[in-house]
Amino acid sequence: MNASQSFQFRGEAAEYFRIWIVNLFLSIVTLGIYSAWAKVRNKQYFYGNTMVAGSAFEYSADPIMILKGRLLVVAILSLFSLFTVYYPLLDLIYYPLFFLILPWLVLRGLMFNARYSSYRNLHFAFVSGLGRTYAVVLGLGLITPMLIILASYSLLGPVLDVGQGAGSRSWVVFILGATLLSLFIWWVLSSYYLQHYYVNHSHYGRLSFAMMASLKQFFIFFSIAALGFSIALILFLSFKFSVDAGDFVIDLELTYTLIVVSIMLLYLRAYLKVRVFNQVWGMTRLMDAADQPPTQLMSFHTELKVNPLFFVYLTNIIASSISLGLLIPWARVRLARYQINRMTLLMHGDLDRIITDEKMKVGSFGGEMGDLLDIDIGL
C-alpha cells in the first residue's frame, strides 16, 4: 500500500470555548484540584479531534496520577521558596539541585506523555537512557552556554578592570565576537540535537522515529534568523531613550519602537518555527526495526508557510489580549488547525505491519513538573 493520508483537525472554537471555560470554572471552584482533570480533558479535545486515515489520536492519562504529581510539585516548590526566604543561602543548593534533576524530569515528562498517547489502540513510547538525557539537556542545553559566558567573562574581566588602551579595545572586540559566534553555534547545535533527541527516541508500536534532518539546513535557517534578530536589536538600541522629568513615564515613541520590534521578533519566531518544523518532520521516517536493515514504513510531508503562520500568531495575540483572554480558545483552535491541516502522512507499507512492542507504566511526577516549568521540546 502506497498512499498519502492528510492530517485533519476537526476542533471548533465555539465548542472548545465551552470546554475551556468549564475547565477554568471547576478548577477555581475546587481550588485547583480539578486542574488535573482539566488538563486531561483539554488534551483529549485536541488529540480526539486530530484525525488521520479515518482514526483519531487518543490521550488516556489518569487525572488522579496527574493530581498526585501536581500536589507533590506544589509541596516541594512552596517548601523550598519558604525556606529560601528565611535562609537565603539555600539558593546555593536549590538552583544546582534543580539543574541536576531537570533532565530527569524532562525524561519522565516525555515518557509519561508518550505512554498515554495512542492511535488505533497502539501506544507511543519514549525510550531513552538517563545518560543521553543528561548529555543533551544538561550538558548541551544548560552547561555549554554557561561555560561560554563564563569563559568570555573571565577573559574580559581583567581587561575591563585595567582600563582601555588601544590594544585592549581590539582584544575586547575579538572576545565579544568570539563569544557571540560560540553562542550562535551553540544555539543551532542545541536546537538540532534537542529535536534529534526527542524524535529519535520516540516509538509508535514497534516502529521507531528517525530524524534525517540536515544540520547544514539548520545552520542556514538560524543564520537568517540571527540576521533578523540583529536588525531588530539595532533598531531597538538606536532608539533614543528619553528620561522624563517626573518618573519613567511610558513614552509614545518608545511604545511604537517596542511594538515594531515585537512584531519583528514574532515574525522571526514564525520563520524559525516553520523552517524547523518542515525540516524536522519532513525528514522524519518511521522505521520498522524488526527488519534487517530497517525498512521505512511511513514518512511525513509538511507544508507550513511563514506568512500565514505569522498572521495566525499575530492575530491570536492581539485577539487574546484585547478580549482579556476570552478568545484564547479561538486562538488555540486556529493555531492547531493551521498546523495540523498542513501535515500529510505518507505510507510505504501495510498498516498491519505496525504492531505493538512494549508496555511501560510511568509515574506522572516528572510529567507534571515539566508541565509547570514549560519544558516543551519538539512539536
Binding site: 476542533g11 465551552r18 470554572f25 488538563k39 479535545y45 522629568a245 513615564v249
Partner: protein, 340 residues
Amino acid sequence: MMKTSVNYFDGHSALSVEAELRLQENGECQLLSDDLQYDFVWAEAKLSPALAKTARSLKLPNGAKCEISDLAVLARMEAQQDAKQKSRGLLYWVNLMESRWHFVLITAVLVIVFAFSMVTYGLPTLSKGVALALPLSIDQQLSEGASSLLESKLLKPSEIPLERQQVIATEFTRIINQLDDGHSFSLIFRKGLGANAFAFPSGIILVTDGLVNLAQTDAEVVSVLLHEMGHVVNRHGLRLLLQGSALTLLITVVTGDFSASTGFIAALPVMLLEQGYSRDLEREADDFSLNYMQAQGLSTQAFADILQRISGDDQNSVWQYASSHPTTAERIRRFQQTTP
C-alpha cells in the same frame, strides 16, 4: 437490543476492522465482523468519557478497543446500563455542563467576576499580608540594585551646597527618629535624572539636584521625602514584587499558556495591570506623607506645590493614564483640600 457500527482495533496491530457492537438489556455485549466474534459484559469494558463531538472508545476486557462515532446511540446504551448502577461518573456531569450554553454562560460570568475581583482586590490584599509578615532582611536583599544605580553614569555627585543638604538631612533624621520603623534609613543627594526622588526597599532614599532646585522651600523637599519613606515603611518594593509574580502565576495558571506571558505584545495587559498596582501604592505613599504632616501640624500645601511644579505642563498627556503615578491633578487636590 441496541447496536452500532464500530472500528475495532485489536491492540496488536494498527489495522482497523469494521465491526458491529450489539448490547443486550442485561448488559451482555457482542462484537461481530466478517471473521471475528467476541462476547463480553458491558460493565467490564471501559468507556472513555464523552467530550464534545470526538469519537469515544470502548476498551474491551481483552485489551482491544472499539472506536465509536455514533455518539447518540452510544449515549443511549450508556444511559440504559448506567441506570442499573445508579451512578453517573463525574465527567458525565462535566460533559453536561459543557454542552449546555446557559451553563457555559453562567460559568463564564463567574470566572470573569472571580478574575476581576482577584486582580483588583485579592492579590493586593494577599501580597500586603504576606509582605508585612516577612522579615525586614528581605528588603535589604531587594535593594541590591541600589548600588549599581548609584554608581551608574546616569548619576553624578550632587552640587547642592552642603549647608542646604545639612538642613534637609537634619529634618530627615528627626523624622526617622520619630518613626522608629526598623528600616535603616539614609539620605543621598545626586545630580541627574531630572527632578526626581527614589526609595529603595532597604530605606535608602535618593534625591536629585533637579528636585531640590525645583523646590522653593525645604518643606517641599521634606514632603517628597515623606512620600518616599511611605514606600519604604509600607514595604512597597516587596509588595510590588509579590503582586507581580502572583499576577504572572495567576495568568499562567488560568490561561495554561506559558509562552503568552513571555511575548512582548501579550505582556501589555500585564504591564497595564501592574501600572494600576503601582498607582495604588503611590496613593498609599501619599497617604503616609499626608498623615504625617497633618499629625505634625504642618501645611500639606508644600507637597501640592512641588507636585504642581514637577508635573509642569505635562499634565494633560494621555499617557498619564498609563503612568505609574495617579494623575497629578488628583494627587494635588488631596493635599490642597486639607489646607487650613
